[in-house]
Amino acid sequence: MESKLLVEERKIVVPGETLAKGIDYLPGFGTYKENGEIRSKILGLVKLKDHIVSVVPLSGVYIPMKGDGVIGIVSDVQIASWIVDINSPYMGFLPLSEATNEFVDLTKFDITEYFDVGDVVYLKVNKVTKRKDVQLTVKDRMCRKLYGGNIIRITPAKVPRLIGRGGSMIEMIKKKTGCHIIVGQNGLVWIKGDKETLAAKAVLMVERESHTEGLTDRISEMLDREAKKEGGKDE
């Protein structure tokens, strides 16, 4: 059978739409194969890379994957572990052994010294089982407790756009606002700095207009304009 690609790249497709036929194409994320046809599973944009056809989602909840950096809020402290809300249908599990290398005598030491209910932590997803039990760790680069600042929530599907190619978008926002910003793959964004409101405005603008072109330039323009306005007020 002849292999054929039936849709263009970056086109919007709906569930059930046939993307490609034949054996020269492989089904990637957001697609399924049936009767030799690759079809879309979700509403999204078509992506083609090395003969792998996949669909980039435009909406949806966060499903944990191994290696993701996420922002979590501790929701429960257990005897030697924590339950962390990671803005997903599944709760994260952080065992004490993944929080510290030291020996902790549980009879004498209160583990809320490390993390307590309500603490905001940047974590890595260590392992996800088939039944979606999520194991987290803080033994990784960048992982730490986040003090102060504000958290805003965006659609997890828009996170890659907010980061930009090679981190270009988020680096630009960081530089122009002078804020510390940490983006979790789960759609939570932590912002701390003097211009928190401005940074949050930029982040929300990225979320709203994520599938348009030339967005980085427009965000940059908006930040410059707002910064000028702020400067004018001071004088």
């Binding site: 399924y32 979700i42 509403l43 909406s59 949806g60 979606k132 599938h211």
Partner: protein, 240 residues
């Protein structure tokens, strides 16, 4: 003695439609910002709005299935949706419709991708003028796709029936109460499968086949409308 009202005159129906013509329709995606996904569908005077929440943690906990997501569906008619006030709250009828809609949707969602989670679908009928379950299902299908939930295909639904001895598409208005047969179906064009079929009234085997074929034709038109609505939501932003 009252004279019997004719429902079909010269091949035209009460509202002037041909026998195999759908009512005018309108579809929209993303009408409820707080929901993960939402859809609006109107077929003539029947209006439905659907909202999808989740996949999210399921309550009560004992309903969780360790291998697949639990789909919960609620079909509800607004008290003001008909000429007589509908008593609010679940009734025998709405519980049954919720169940058949849930089973149709469950068959198209990839439920095994979200073990232990729950997907909640709420369908509100704002105005009822026959075929409410079909319109509700169409709205729910748009809402599910808008929520980014993986599905085999969009599910389209419409009804056929027998009125004055003729097989007609999309029963509406008086045809519903005075017609002989009402036959709603839900259909997936890609796989050529029917996931919902109900019927009341008496019909012969040949007529049933004809009615199903006609309803499938209607579903295909509705399917295109649903696709268009979903694409339209994002295209207005897209530059290229």
């Amino acid at each position: 003695m009252s004279e019997e009202k004719k429902l079909i005159v010269n091949g035209k129906r009460l509202d002037g439609r041909a026998l195999d013509e759908l009512r005018e329709m309108e579809a929209r995606a993303g009408v409820i910002p707080r929901a993960e996904g939402s859809g609006y569908f109107r077929l003539g005077n029947t209006i439905a709005v659907a909202a999808v929440y989740g996949p999210r943690q399921l309550h009560p906990k004992h309903l969780t299935d360790p291998l697949r997501a639990y789909v919960r569906c609620r079909y509800n008619m607004a008290p003001f949706s008909t000429k007589d006030r509908v008593r609010p709250g679940p009734s025998r009828r709405s519980i049954e419709i919720s169940k058949v809609i849930k089973e149709a949707l469950q068959a198209v969602i990839f439920v095994d991708e979200f073990p232990k989670a729950g997907i909640e679908i709420f369908i509100e009928i704002l105005q009822a003028d026959a075929s409410t379950r079909c319109v509700g299902l169409n709205a729910a299908s748009i809402a599910l796709a808008d929520a980014g939930i993986p599905m085999r295909d969009l599910i389209a639904s419409c009804s056929a029936g027998k009125v004055d001895g003729e097989i007609v598409l999309d029963i509406a208005g008086d045809e519903d109460c005075e017609g002989e047969v009402d036959l709603p179906i839900a259909y997936i064009p890609r796989e050529n499968k029917i996931y919902l079929l109900q019927m009341d009234g008496l019909i012969t085997k040949e007529e049933l086949k004809k009615a199903i074929d006609m309803a499938i034709k209607g579903c295909k038109i509705i399917y295109e409308k649903q696709k268009e609505a979903l694409k339209k939501k994002y295209e207005e932003f897209e530059v290229n």
